[in-house]
């Protein structure tokens, strides 16, 4: 048996309440402590939220950048509210893995493009082109590419450019650099439609066909 005795502290029970044993008494005391701590944390959180709200409103009035709540991670740690900006992460582990695979393919493709750049022989160019087209076909099957319409279109664009122009003349350094740029866009997280359209314009400016003729 254990008796809880206190003259001037409110434990939520009458003074001299008897417990079956010590562990029951301790359990009760601990649950009281947890309740008290929780209450304290919530009060602090409410206070912090109120202050954040006030700060946000003030920033809004001054035209400063608003807090992007969706970009923040909030956590309570030792009674303190931790606020961190979310890291840009891939949606799931599968896509992370296929992006890693795509990076390997791109890295290899760029190595071949560099070799191609150093060669001035059109026969060698045709061989390199076949390898690069193979890399494009390989990368296009990956989930990371398939999940994005723009990346798929860039794959198609790169493939078209090579196939339409490969037998005409030896590619210049600038043209090969553009192919490299195209591959880089495939693995960039920020690739947008305008990037694809700009790449198309650059190809055309450098004298490369991006569409076959129909006239």
């Amino acid at each position: 048996m254990a008796v809880l005795q206190s003259e001037n502290i409110d434990f939520g029970l009458p003074n001299k309440t008897t417990f079956l044993d010590e562990s029951a008494l301790i359990h009760h005391l601990l649950s009281l402590r947890v309740d008290a701590l929780e209450k304290k944390i919530f009060e602090k959180t409410d206070n912090l939220e109120e202050r954040l709200y006030h700060v946000e409103n003030t920033m809004g009035e001054t035209g400063a950048n608003p807090i992007l709540w969706n970009d923040m991670d909030f956590s309570l740690d030792g009674g303190f509210l931790q606020v961190k900006k979310k890291e840009k992460t891939m949606p799931d582990i599968t896509e992370q893995n296929t992006r890693a695979e795509c990076e390997k393919i791109v890295s290899r493709a760029i190595e071949f493009l560099t070799d191609w750049d150093e060669s001035q022989d059109i026969k060698l160019q045709i061989q390199y082109a076949a390898i690069i087209v193979g890399k494009i076909e390989m990368i296009k099957k990956k989930e990371f590419i398939q999940s994005s319409e723009i990346r798929k279109k860039i794959c198609t664009l790169l493939r078209n450019v090579i196939r339409l122009n490969i037998t005409d003349e030896v590619f210049t350094k600038v043209q090969i650099d553009l192919l490299k740029k195209g591959f880089q866009l495939l693995i960039s997280l920020d690739t947008k439609k305008e990037d694809m359209l700009q790449l198309n314009r650059q190809f055309r400016k450098e004298g490369l066909m991006t569409m076959p003729s129909w006239e």
Binding site: T156, R163, M196, R204, M211, P212, E215
Partner: protein, 257 residues
């Protein structure tokens, strides 16, 4: 020099063969390039429309052989040769893979609309052409180019006010018997019946409209067109410089006429 590009030049520089593109580039180099919404409307009515139609034929069953047959059954005139050439080029590029064919089409919808503006300083809107407002839209991922009905009976653009404004200049065409008789007949009728400027007639008057647009832009504007026969009498009447690329085999020199 400021050069107003007509529809033939826009089509050639975007969809033409390598040789044609080189010839066009040769004449355009060093000039400031402009275009108009009327030309944009013609471009959508021809090239973009052809591409959407071809894709529609393909989507019926995505059978590569049947699509080829459908071109001869459902596409006619100038469009047929254009569409057929494009289709067989796409087949070659795709390695006859249905998935790749589809991907190529979807890419080309973006490129064909974007390339029109490449290198163009400004697109003048002098006619409020309704066909120029068309864009490829997507319904459940399927591209659609909504039709615009240009008829005599309905006013959907500002072509009549444009003709009214250019009445005096247009009148000079009636005095030149080198101008196509079809054009002069329409202009004669339109003097009393305004709706003669609209509908199918508007398409017939296309080159005349473009020439008048160049005139309205200012004396410093020339026209670039591959259609020398139709534009020469118009440009001679108005005193506009006409620049025509030389598509002769093996030569890419420009001719100022």
């Amino acid at each position: 020099m400021n050069l107003l590009l007509d529809t033939t030049i826009q089509i050639d520089r975007i969809t033409g063969s390598k040789e044609r593109k080189k010839a066009v580039e040769e004449v355009l180099r060093g000039n400031q390039l402009y275009c108009t919404t009327y030309v944009l409307g013609e471009y959508y009515n021809n090239i973009v429309n052809d591409l959407v139609t071809l894709y529609g034929l393909f989507l019926i069953d995505k059978n590569l052989d049947e699509t080829g047959k459908r071109i001869s059954e459902h596409v006619f005139g100038r469009s047929q040769s254009r569409v057929a050439k494009l289709y067989f080029n796409i087949l070659e590029l795709s390695g006859h893979d249905v998935g790749e064919v589809e991907d190529i089409f979807l890419l080309y919808f973006d490129l064909i609309q974007e390339d029109f503006y490449d290198g163009i300083e400004n697109i003048f809107d002098l006619t409020g052409c309704a066909r120029a407002q068309r864009r490829v839209e997507y319904e459940d991922g399927i591209p659609v180019l909504r039709d615009v009905h240009c008829t005599k009976e309905k006013v959907i653009c500002s072509i009549c006010p444009f003709w009214k404004k250019m009445e005096k200049e247009a009148g000079r065409l009636l005095q030149n018997d080198k101008v196509d008789i079809k054009i002069r007949d329409i202009l004669n009728r339109a003097q009393n019946i305004e709706k003669e400027y609209r509908g199918q007639n508007c398409k017939t008057l296309g080159d005349t409209i473009i020439a008048l647009e160049a005139l309205e832009c200012g004396q410093e504007y020339g026209i670039c067109s591959s259609n020398k026969n139709d534009f020469r009498p118009l440009c001679d009447t108005f005193g506009i410089t006409l620049v025509v690329p030389d598509y002769s085999r093996g030569r890419t020199a420009a001719k100022n006429t």
